[in-house]
């Protein structure tokens, strides 16, 4: 199997303080000096993460909040750029990484579908051919001309999922979406994701629901504090995650 995603020593650092305290002086100063000043004030959301994903694999990302799962998805989606290491993604990525799929609040659902699908590379005839199916799947037929910001959170997620999973990209990233929809919609999502997988797509799934992860993923990546702790069968990753949380939360530890 040819690798679709190759990550080698991936790392990305963020500033610790929210204030944008960059100064024009920083631009002029030398590389070494700038690096020194920056080091004091940053944390690595991900560091030294290496893995390879083959075509058609379904990978689950496991880990607590703020351990780097979403950041990794954003790097794979190409909407963040690594500060260290190398990342190669062959073929396009259909990212459902912000729950709302990057839709614009002021535009209607109809305009959002056209815009988002267009920005992800679908041509007009392709969008036209898939439009009804998207609307059906998202169950937003009565609200096509309603501005997106008036949508309920469930509707937003449904529309996002419907559009992104309609794209032809070989890699699909799904971040914490299944938790938001109701039971009926979740079933539809399961079916759609099953279809994507049997169609040979590569899937990245972030979820706190172990059953969802087991259901779709064969492989698990467990991230803790920005490091890749476990890369193996999804059960192993979950097991390791459980151990870690159990150790931290358990009332009486034997250690």
């Amino acid at each position: 199997m040819s690798p679709v995603i190759e990550a080698d020593g991936l790392g990305i650092a963020f500033k610790r303080n929210r204030r944008r305290n960059r100064r024009l002086r920083d631009l002029a100063s030398g590389r070494a000096e700038r690096a020194k000043r920056a080091r004091r004030n940053q944390f690595w959301a991900l560091r030294d993460v290496s893995f390879t994903v083959s075509e058609g694999e379904a990978v689950g990302l496991v880990g607590g909040n703020g351990q780097g799962k979403s950041t990794l998805l954003k790097l794979i989606a190409g909407v963040l750029l690594p500060d260290e290491g190398r990342l190669r993604v062959r073929g396009g990525v259909a990212p459902l990484i912000e729950v709302t799929g990057g839709f614009v609040g002021d535009l209607t659902a109809r305009d959002n579908i056209w815009l988002t699908a267009g920005l992800h590379g679908l041509s007009k005839p392709e969008i036209a051919a898939r439009f009804d199916e998207i609307v059906d799947f998202a169950e937003v037929g009565d609200f096509l001309d309603t501005p997106f910001r008036h949508f309920s959170s469930g509707m937003k997620v449904r529309l996002g999922f419907a559009v992104i999973t309609t794209l032809d990209e070989p890699v699909v990233l799904v971040d914490e979406v299944l938790a938001v929809g109701d039971r009926a919609f979740r079933e539809k999502c399961y079916k759609r994701m099953g279809d994507l997988l049997s169609g040979g797509r590569t899937l990245f799934l972030v979820s706190h629901n172990e059953n969802d992860l087991r259901r779709f993923c064969t492989r698990g990546l467990y991230l803790r504090a920005g490091s890749l702790v476990t890369d193996g069968p999804v059960e192993d990753a979950l097991e390791r995650y459980r151990e870690d949380t159990g150790r931290r939360r358990g009332p009486k530890s034997t250690e």
């Binding site: 963040l80 260290e84 990057g102």
Partner: protein, 270 residues
Amino acid sequence: MAVHVEATPRLGALWGNRRILRLLVSRDLKVKYSDSLLGYVWSILEPLMMAGVYWFVFTQLMDRQLGEAPYIVFLLAAMLPWQWANAVLRASMKALSKDAKLVRSTNLPREIWILRTVGSKFAEFVFALPVLALFALINRAELTKFVVFFPLAVLLQGVLLTGAGLILAPLATLYSDVERLMRIVLRLLFYFSPIIYGVSDVQSRLGGTVADLYVLNPLAGIFDLYRTAFFADEWAGWGAVGIAAGVSVTMLVVGIFTFRRLEGTVLKEI
């Protein structure tokens, strides 16, 4: 180490995404013109009012000593391109933050958000040209042979604005001072560009070194090129145009590298 992206694949990726660029530009125009009944009027009102005020002051209140007659045509021939430049420089500072949601959720070559700004404002410039034509007809200003340089002027200005936009967009996202600073710079630039007067006025009144320094402003050569389409005497020679071309291309190269260098940081911030 830092991730290096070569220039050529980036240009290729931009070319490959030209359909998306067209989609973004036509979206902008649709919002501008069809969602508001007075859309078109709004877009030409500002340059028209500005030109009207200067026309009134310089030809009605005072005896005009600058530029040429018909002065309103002389004004508009540079005022409309100025409007394009002004609009791009202002909008490019918000090009990445205004549509942050889209920028954050699509893996397009991010230069596209600046090209989209240049393109949308260019379309508005083109749509405003009939106003210039109308005033030219009314005042019987005739086109000269220099009108063939119009595409060259557009090209130079497009290159210049793209370069400036690529520099301003990431800087304004990272440093809030940039926007305030640019407000002043733009005001100064208006008066230091040949809009209410011509390059020939600078040459004949100040001459020598000052005139040589003056054409270092690339807008001087570019606006002069537009204006010669009606006023052949305004032709300041290839020197000014050559300088404008040199500055524009330099601006684009600096812009490409600045943008690439700051892209990763900007993506973390928006």
